[in-house]
């Protein structure tokens, strides 16, 4: 978890492509949490990780709220996406789910997380178009990075 925080804070928060988007890859840690983790534990872990990231970026509550949403949705989505939920064990990744299902999971969770985080960060409805573009581009970038990492890991 420390590694994830350091990577996010010092590397990815500085990758601001043209001032429009910031990939938030730290959510991989939450997506990959083992299935054995209880749901209440999962919610608390999400809240803690989001809070730590917020401390570094001066956006108290923004990432926290987005991470809690992600952690709430994750088990529900996994359950609805696979038939053999009972047989799953260990970390959630493309080995246990299959790449297609995993990609779908990552896409939905990332989009939910980024939408919440960016909307809360801007905290206003003016410049709505800019915010929407920011959400789409940031999500696309994060999804690409996460799936790219998954492909490399399987090599």
């Amino acid at each position: 978890m420390i590694i994830v925080v350091l990577l996010q804070v010092f590397l990815f928060n500085n990758l601001q492509m043209g001032g429009i988007c910031t990939p938030m890859v730290y959510i991989l840690f939450l997506i990959a949490l083992p299935k054995e983790v209880q749901r209440w534990q999962e919610l608390l872990i999400g809240a803690a990780l989001g809070f730590i990231i917020d401390c570094f970026t001066n956006t108290l509550g923004v990432n926290m709220s987005a991470c809690i949403l992600l952690c709430y949705l994750r088990p529900l989505l996994i359950k609805s996406m696979t038939q053999e939920y009972e047989r799953l064990n260990g970390e959630i990744n493309s080995d246990s789910l299959g790449f297609g299902v995993y990609a779908k999971l990552v896409t939905i969770l990332t989009f939910a997380h980024h939408t919440t985080a960016i909307l809360l960060e801007s905290f206003t409805t003016s410049h709505l178009w800019l915010t929407l573009i920011q959400i789409v581009i940031s999500s696309a970038l994060t999804i690409l990075l996460l799936l790219g990492y998954e492909l490399l890991r399987k090599r």
Binding site: L44, L120, E121, F123
Partner: protein, 277 residues
């Protein structure tokens, strides 16, 4: 009663989710008020320390640029020294000892920027000086190009600064050659440009005019460079110009900054506060 307990345990995860979300939303809302808790921002010691280690290594990557800036600043300082000497000469000649310039109450504290965000609506930067170096809230921050921002929060060793490129920042500015005043605000789009508002239609504004601080707030003395007019347009039916200003400070390459410490800041604020409340 039993049914109620059963119901609660059935929805306990949902309830926990809602409770946590409410906590985080309260944090967001409270955080948007200006009173930010210094402990949970990047001015706090752990995060601040991490950032200063990071900045220590990162600074080697733009040494060349820093050197150039230092040289420019050096030249400016030499120029100021020269004018000061002239001034002194004149004062001595006049034997005018009853006059003490307001400038004498100010001095500069140099600081290094150790963290900055420029892609959000509410951007902040963190500098490596704090209460230990007698920095206080509302002091102005500049670099050799011009105004950077205003100190928002301090801890013992660090301080956070609201730059011009934060949508909740308003800086009182004027056009240098005709003294027309108005607040400078940022629209949240491009970190290179901000908008000067409230300049009435009858005032002529040209492209290339210099925008400086007005000196109406105690934070900045009068006449510090803010930016240059890039584009002037007058929207139909509006009685004000819409002025796009190219900011003098480049928020993507901030290294060293100076904090203006004014001995009279608190006195003036206290006096004015009596009317505001």
């Amino acid at each position: 009663m039993r049914n109620l307990l059963q119901l609660l345990s059935k929805y306990s995860i949902l309830l926990m989710f809602v409770a946590l979300e409410i906590v985080s939303l309260i944090l967001v809302v409270r955080n948007n008020e200006y009173q930010r808790n210094a402990f949970f921002t990047s001015a706090n010691v752990i995060a601040g320390w991490n950032y200063s280690v990071y900045a220590y290594f990162a600074q080697y990557f733009n040494l060349r640029e820093e050197n150039r800036l230092l040289q420019e600043e050096n030249i400016q300082l030499q120029n100021q020294l020269l004018t000061a000497k002239n001034e002194l000469q004149r004062v001595i000649e006049k034997k005018d000892s009853g006059y003490v310039s307001a400038e004498l109450n100010k001095h500069y504290i140099s600081a290094r920027v150790i963290n900055i965000s420029s892609s959000k609506r509410h951007n902040y930067l963190t500098i490596n000086r704090g209460e230990r170096d007698s920095l206080k809230k509302d002091m102005g921050v500049i670099n050799c190009y011009g105004v950077v921002g205003i100190i928002n929060n301090t801890s013992r060793q660090f301080a956070t600064v609201i730059p011009i490129i934060n949508t909740s920042m308003q800086l009182s500015c004027k056009i240098k050659n005709n003294d027309a005043c108005g607040p400078l605000v940022w629209n949240g789009k491009n970190y290179r440009y901000a908008n000067l508002t409230d300049i009435a239609k009858h005032i002529t504004v040209n492209q290339g005019d210099t925008i400086v601080t007005s000196g109406f707030t105690p934070t900045f003395p009068e006449g510090i460079m803010v930016g240059v007019v890039e584009e002037v347009s007058t929207p139909q039916g509006s009685s004000y110009h819409s002025i796009k200003v190219r900011l003098a400070a480049d928020y993507k390459s901030l290294g060293y900054v100076s904090v203006i410490a004014d001995r009279n800041l608190e006195e003036q604020k206290k006096l004015e506060g009596e009317y505001m409340d």
